[in-house]
Symmetry: C2
Subunit: 305 residues, 2 copies
């Protein structure tokens, strides 16, 4: 009922980062795409075959370096049913390799529907009393716009199945301020959401000192991150926006607590497309990804100290 | 680039309602479940076989009465890959029957990821330049918490592919007020979102007078609906909360404009589980659903006048 498992893996690897698996088709090396199209056609099926080979290569190269992977559901859903199949295979393969799997789905709905989403990803689906796991990840992202009764089904499954969630608080995108930065009374909306996160998190605190309900806080807004770190002391932060989106290593420092814990920084494009920079051959995409993951680990651990 | 197609179908059927397809397994008649479990096992696969037969029966009974169906993605995702397959089949079957398909997914993310979601559901997915439709629905729901750059990819695809979206403004659930009712300056957050909807909708207005960007406004909050109707004059409202959630026919009146248009009211459980009330046999689930859809149509058209 906490994020202890993630913290354990972060400590084991000495690495507070997560590799995003957002497989846009143009991230996949051309030789893999060509081979897949030749076998399955240049269509959704061919794209999915290419993405699966790419993901598998990345996981093989990263699993002893990074504690976690974060597939972004959109980049699988866009390939339809075979995209969902690749997502499912990617989740299972990452788990087999001992990786903590954060599925970025940003789901949200009224209570009874949120419960269905939670069963899909964190819990188990009951078929007239017989339970089966549908996706079975360790953690999902959720959107808090519907309030407590849209989030509690996820929190309840965190308790039952020892899982975790990250609620969107301050997102990394340019227009995140339109609603999130509005001021209600004496606080910004993102601070109001942070107070909700504290409430949802309160009775889920584990041995690590952190609870099951974390927060998404973008590296692109370091000042807000510093304020949020003070409000949500016992919530882990999932930090997007490092690298390709413009956030630097120093920008993520405010997301961490003094103990060097409290945040996990995501890099997707930076790791997946590392082979496109610095003289690598396409065939070396996995080596390049591994080198970038190590560079990122070392950069993060140096700035946190 | 508008909601004209939906308005046309509403006028043709003389019915401003949408049948929600939220197939919880206990909504499915026992005889269908037993048959499916006997053939496929009492597991996710068996559940999906039962749900597909149920959905097909419902669509066959409703397609000449209701203008639209609204599958709720959560109740398919919870059955994993075979759930996604049933969702895909349900969408295709409903389209074949001439129904307008609103997929309730409440997706949301940063711009580049929102674009992937939009391609998945409204647009087409490009595989190195070759385009293919992944899900191909008429309309999706989106969550506005990330602001304009998370919504514009959907709006752009509405323009390109003649589709529509409904953004969450004031949701029907009990805790919707926690964030949505906060007051920023002189307006509630839901009114701030309504102003965003107007901005997103502005250059998508079609012949019907309504644009591609509609709003989700719960029947459970008629006062707020009345205020929102005045702000978003050219947005269609998707209205959940009627029936099982407690909203009555009079509660949805403020969602409509004087022309009797401007809103489409959802009923899921009321229609799907109609056979559980009033002396129907299980085998009559489709007849019962049709009778309830007709009753709802007549009730809505009488109160709108």
């Amino acid at each position: 009922m906490s994020v202890d498992l993630l913290v354990k893996k972060i400590k084991e690897k000495g690495n507070p980062s997560v590799a995003g698996l957002d497989p846009k088709i143009d991230y996949v090396p051309e030789y893999i795409r060509k081979k897949a199209y030749a076998e399955y056609g240049q269509n959704l099926k061919g794209a999915c075959a290419a993405i699966w080979e790419f993901n598998k290569g990345l996981i093989d190269a990263l699993y002893d370096i990074v504690p976690a992977v974060k597939p972004q559901s959109a980049f699988y859903e866009m390939y339809g049913l075979c995209g969902e199949t690749v997502l499912h295979k990617t989740i299972q393969y990452a788990k087999e390799k001992g990786l903590y799997v954060i599925l970025d789905v940003k789901r949200n709905d009224i209570g009874s529907t949120a419960e269905a989403y939670s069963k899909a990803y964190l819990g188990k689906t009951a078929v007239d009393g017989v339970e089966e796991e549908a996706f079975g990840v360790d953690c999902v992202t959720v959107n808090p716009y519907l309030g407590t009764d849209g989030v509690m089904p996820f929190v309840n499954d965190c308790k039952t199945y020892d899982k975790a969630i990250f609620a969107l608080v301050k997102t990394s995108n340019p227009s995140s301020g339109e609603l999130q930065d509005l001021i209600a009374g004496s606080a910004h909306i993102y601070e109001k959401v942070a107070e909700c996160v504290n409430k949802w998190n309160a009775d889920t605190i584990g041995e690590s000192g952190y609870g099951a309900v974390g927060a998404v806080v973008g590296a692109t807004y370091p000042e807000q991150a510093a304020a949020l770190r003070k409000i949500m002391k016992q919530s882990y932060f999932l930090v997007p926006g490092y690298g390709a989106q413009g956030g630097g290593a120093k920008d993520v420092v405010p997301c961490f607590n003094c103990d060097g814990l409290g945040a996990i920084v995501n890099s997707s494009r930076g790791i997946m497309c590392a082979y496109k920079k610095g003289g690598w051959k396409e065939e070396q995409f996995a080596e390049a990804a591994r080198a970038e993951a190590i560079r990122m680990r070392d950069e993060l651990t140096s700035v946190i100290k």
